[in-house]
């Protein structure tokens, strides 16, 4: 019996240590989450304003620029945003499952939605993957997708300089007509508890999809505001002056919009990662706590049983002597 209590004692200690670690990780994740969430929210302002501007521009003039060009999809690029590290619950599993699901049926995802008409994708769609974060890159390698680049040295709270090379590459490849559609898969941060895996079209820049993204940026009274803005815009768009000219302005804005979108995805993903990790660690701490309670109970019972048995043995021995 003595051996048993010792083993339980050791178990309690080890679970206690684990709890300490998970507790610490929870705290760290909480602090990082606060920072990441703030960054994500701050970027939303810029993204929204840049988008408003683009809407205004598109009303003034029909423009044909490479980044707006819609081609039947023969080659698809997926930017998969995941985390570098594990221990964050189902965060990576969710986004990877969602992506895998979509990639199984590349035809569906490769359709272009233009108003109500769909432009069908070509046959034999090729898929290339760019991984942001190690886990996504691992997934692509394991499942035989063509991984053309992997960026895993991005910090916990990404800044624009981390994202710029990725965005530049994507814009360049699209302009060179190497890819006909670019999709970014990331985890959207809704709240500390709710995060949803999402796939979103980045290129060609489409009004429909951007609109969806903007509406998803979770602001209240969005409908009211846009209605009001729409009225304003119809009143004033005719009088806009463009310096030097519309095309030059658009040429500056469009790549920025792509950059912002990818940056936004990275930020949302990082905010989601940290909150997922925080929740996972909190659950782990709670489970550890429960386990310790249970083990304590078992330990006490074993101890008690040991004592009872000893007394019974002594009493038995004394009785035998008489």
């Amino acid at each position: 019996m003595a051996v048993n209590t010792k083993a339980i004692k050791r178990r309690i200690k080890s679970v206690g240590n684990t709890k300490k670690i998970t507790k610490a990780m929870e705290m760290v994740a909480a602090a990082k989450m606060r920072k990441a969430t703030e960054a994500a929210v701050n970027t939303r302002t810029y993204a929204k304003m840049a988008w408003d501007l683009l809407v205004n521009l598109s009303k003034v003039q029909e423009v044909n620029l490479p980044l707006l060009e819609i081609r039947p999809v023969k080659k698809l690029l997926v930017v998969l945003v995941t985390s570098n590290r594990g221990l964050c619950g189902s965060f990576n599993a969710n986004i990877i499952r969602k992506t895998a699901e979509q990639l199984k049926d590349p035809k569906n995802i490769s359709q272009h939605m233009v108003g109500k008409d769909n432009i069908e994708a070509g046959e034999n769609i090729e898929i290339d993957v760019v991984g942001i974060g190690k886990k996504g890159a691992d997934f692509a390698k394991k499942n035989g997708y063509n991984l053309i680049a992997s960026y895993s040295d991005i910090s916990d709270t990404p800044n624009l300089n981390d994202i710029l090379p990725i965005a530049k590459m994507i814009v360049g490849e699209y302009e060179a007509k190497k890819y006909d559609k670019v999709v970014v898969a990331y985890t959207d941060y809704k709240s500390a508890i709710v995060q949803t895996a999402k796939l979103r079209q980045v290129l060609p820049i489409s009004e429909l999809d951007l609109e969806k993204m903007m509406n998803n940026l979770g602001t209240d009274n969005e409908d009211l505001k846009t209605d009001e803005q729409k009225q304003n815009q119809t009143l004033i768009t005719d009088t806009y002056i463009f310096e030097p000219n519309t095309t030059d302005v658009l040429k500056t804005i469009l790549p920025r919009l792509v950059e912002t979108q990818i940056f936004q995805a990275a930020l949302e993903s990082s905010a989601s990662e940290h909150s997922a990790r925080m929740m996972a660690m909190r659950n782990a701490s709670d489970s550890a706590e429960d386990m310790i309670d249970e083990l304590n109970l078992t330990y006490n019972k074993a101890r008690q049983a040991g004592i009872t048995q000893e007394i019974a043995e002594i009493a038995g021995g004394a009785a035998a002597l008489e």
Binding site: A39, N42, T43, T45, Y46, A47, M49, A50, L53, N56, L57, N159, L160, K168, G172, N232, L235, I236, T237, T239, Y240, I241, F242, E243, P244, D248, V249, T252, I253, R256, E259, T260, F263
Partner: protein, 142 residues
Amino acid sequence: MNTNILKFKIATPEKVVYENEIFQVSIPTMSGEITVLPNHIPLVSVLKAGELKIVDKEGEHPFAVSGGFLEIKGNNELIILADNVERADTIDIDRAEQARVRAEEEMTKAKTGEDVNFARLQAVIDREMNRVRVAKKYKNVK
């Protein structure tokens, strides 16, 4: 609505740097420096690296900006979306200078390289030179 005031907002992808009601602002654009006063006609333009000067109730505030774009809306709203903005008094001259020197060194190395890289480096040099210039200018005044 007070028609003698501009609602001004300057944002980078990372955050909103400054938001206030102002009297006038001078902005470096591709086609030269412009000064915007209230009741300006709606305008969209592209910024280049330079010095941005805002005049509000408290006086003049200099900023160093690198590229971006600006939008003046019809209802006295001015929005600047910049790649990089800093208040002149928060720029660390020494570090800006170092960054410029570093970029220039890379430039000489990259002379043989591809021109994409070249353009980016040139942009960095422009930006850092501009930061140094703006920061120095206002250091002396104080």
